[in-house]
């Protein structure tokens, strides 16, 4: 088990680094796909079968296909070397750093939540998630679905030529 954990983690870290450092856009997307698959493997190690499969269906199977689709349509065959001005680079570093801080703060907050929900092997199964989602987080759940619908309608409106 612990071997599998390190194996999957190594794949994830290597692929994540390759996503950043690889120059060819198609390779970037493929490394990201492998990274997501390894993450699904982590879910399975926690016996969260439902989460793992949904992760594969949604992220690997739908979102990354769209990424690949767009890159193929734009025909970004050649490796592109970006030449940006110093101002852009510095502001990019600052923005990235601030985002990292936000993520760090969010991760710290999760310790408190961890204490409230002790880990059980049943948690990642359909019943476990369903019970928590529809009992304690019903309103946020429904709100997020409304958010999705409005995003979809918005995208449709933007895509139409004459409204």
């Amino acid at each position: 088990m612990i071997f599998l954990f390190y194996f999957l983690s190594a794949i994830m870290i290597i692929c994540a680094l390759a996503v950043v450092f690889s120059k060819n856009p198609i390779n970037n997307v493929i490394y990201l796909i492998v990274c997501f698959l390894a993450m699904a493997g982590h879910y399975i190690l926690l016996n969260a079968q439902f989460l793992a499969v949904v992760h594969v269906i949604v992220y690997t199977g739908a979102i990354m296909v769209l990424f690949l689709f767009v890159i193929m349509l734009l025909n970004l065959n050649k490796a592109i070397i970006l030449r940006k001005s110093t101002v852009t680079r510095v502001s990019a570093v600052i923005t990235g750093g601030i985002f990292f801080l936000v993520l760090l703060a969010a991760t710290r907050q999760t310790f408190e939540i961890h204490a409230r929900y002790p880990f059980t092997s049943e948690f990642g199964l359909v019943t476990g998630i369903g019970t928590v989602l529809f009992n304690e987080f019903l309103l946020p759940f429904e709100m997020s679905s409304i958010l999705f619908i409005s995003a979809m309608v918005g995208a449709l409106m933007l895509g139409k030529k004459d409204v």
Binding site: F50, V56, I57, G61, A62, V65, L68, M72
Partner: protein, 343 residues
């Protein structure tokens, strides 16, 4: 899991792998025979009696052909493409319940490799990864026809996955479980899901045709427009892998349809005969395969009867026809169960 179970599962895994490959191999023969029958021809009849050795001859030909990788292709991805198509096609078989349980030496062995809690979703996950085989292969060929085929395949499969998933939601509402084993055992007797979900079945089978890239939805390899679609540049066994993966997908989706809507290995009145449990299980597996072959015949029948859709017709059918129907089906099922549960 103890040792005997492990050994049994390993042997069973190889048997299923072998059966899948053999069925896929003879589907190519069956397809040509069915086509010949529909068009009043004889079909393959030279290699062996009734041309039964034709698939072997075809396989040998595929292996012996010269392997060509185009100069401008991306070599690595060009090889990875067919491998993904083949691997994901074969991986789907592990969650399908091929039969009840056998008792050998006082121990019970289930004829299913993995009874996943979320079996049906696992099938969807594998199907959605299978798109990459076609997309990566089509892109890596560096040929505009292959790229067009790959893009068509991707958009077609994403569009039809939605309607397929929604038709499954209605089915899950009726069965209350995502495990394929559970879904099959609930259909014991004559309680086949097709009687409870006729509209869902219609949507599911239409989407299954689109997901396996079979006619009338074989736009990704539409030869009148795109030469050979995503596998235009492929030759020898790599082309063989793509074609073979299509037949494996057809076999597996027939198995999934038989499992979900036609009661899997259940057959009415089988229990009333008073046979031993092992005999019942083996007969059930036999009936399951008969259902699968009937479904495969339906796939072929439709391929040689209906002309190919135009691309805009395909998208209209998917987004404006099947998805609203699937949503209506979910709502109708939900309302029905809401009122029957209340009383």
């Amino acid at each position: 899991m103890d040792l005997t179970t492990l050994i049994f599962k390993t042997i069973f895994l190889f048997i299923i792998l072998l059966v899948t490959l053999i069925v896929a191999m003879y589907s190519t023969y069956g397809e040509r025979k069915v086509a010949a029958f529909m068009q009043d021809r004889r079909g393959p009849n030279r290699a062996g009696p009734f041309g039964l050795l034709q698939p072997l001859a075809d396989g040998l030909k595929m292996f012996m052909k010269e392997e060509i990788i185009p100069l401008t292709a991306n070599r690595k991805l060009f090889i990875i493409g067919p491998s993904i198509a083949m691997t994901t096609a074969l991986l789907t078989g592990v969650v399908i319940p091929w039969g009840g349980s056998l008792t050998i030496g006082g121990k019970e062995f289930s004829l299913q490799i993995a009874d996943l809690n979320i079996g049906i979703l696992y099938v969807f996950a594998m199907v959605s990864i299978g798109v990459y085989g076609i997309m990566i292969g089509g892109w890596a060929s560096n040929n505009k026809y292959a790229l067009l085929g790959a893009i068509r395949a991707a958009s077609q499969m994403i569009s039809y996955e939605l309607a397929m998933g929604m038709s499954i939601i209605a089915l899950v509402l009726t069965t209350g479980s995502l495990s394929l084993h559970e879904i099959v055992s609930q259909q014991h007797g004559m309680h086949w899901n097709i009687f409870y979900q006729p509209l869902g079945f219609f949507i599911f089978i239409t989407c299954a045709f689109a997901e396996t890239n079979r006619a009338p939805f074989d736009l990704p390899e539409c030869e009148t427009e795109l030469i050979g679609g995503y596998h235009t540049e492929y030759s020898s066994m790599k082309l063989g892998f793509y074609l073979f993966a299509e037949y494996i997908n057809m076999f597996i989706s027939s198995a999934v349809i038989a499992t979900l809507y036609f009661g899997g290995y259940n057959m009415p009145f089988l229990d009333d005969l008073g046979l031993a449990q092992n005999t019942v299980t083996l007969l059930g597996t036999g009936f399951f395969f008969m259902k699968i072959f009937a479904m495969i015949f339906l796939f072929m029948w439709i391929r040689w009867t209906l002309p190919r859709f135009r691309y805009d017709q395909l998208m209209n059918l998917g987004w404006k026809g099947l998805i609203p129907m699937a949503i209506f089906n979910i709502m109708a099922t939900g309302i029905y169960y809401f009122f029957t549960e209340l009383t």
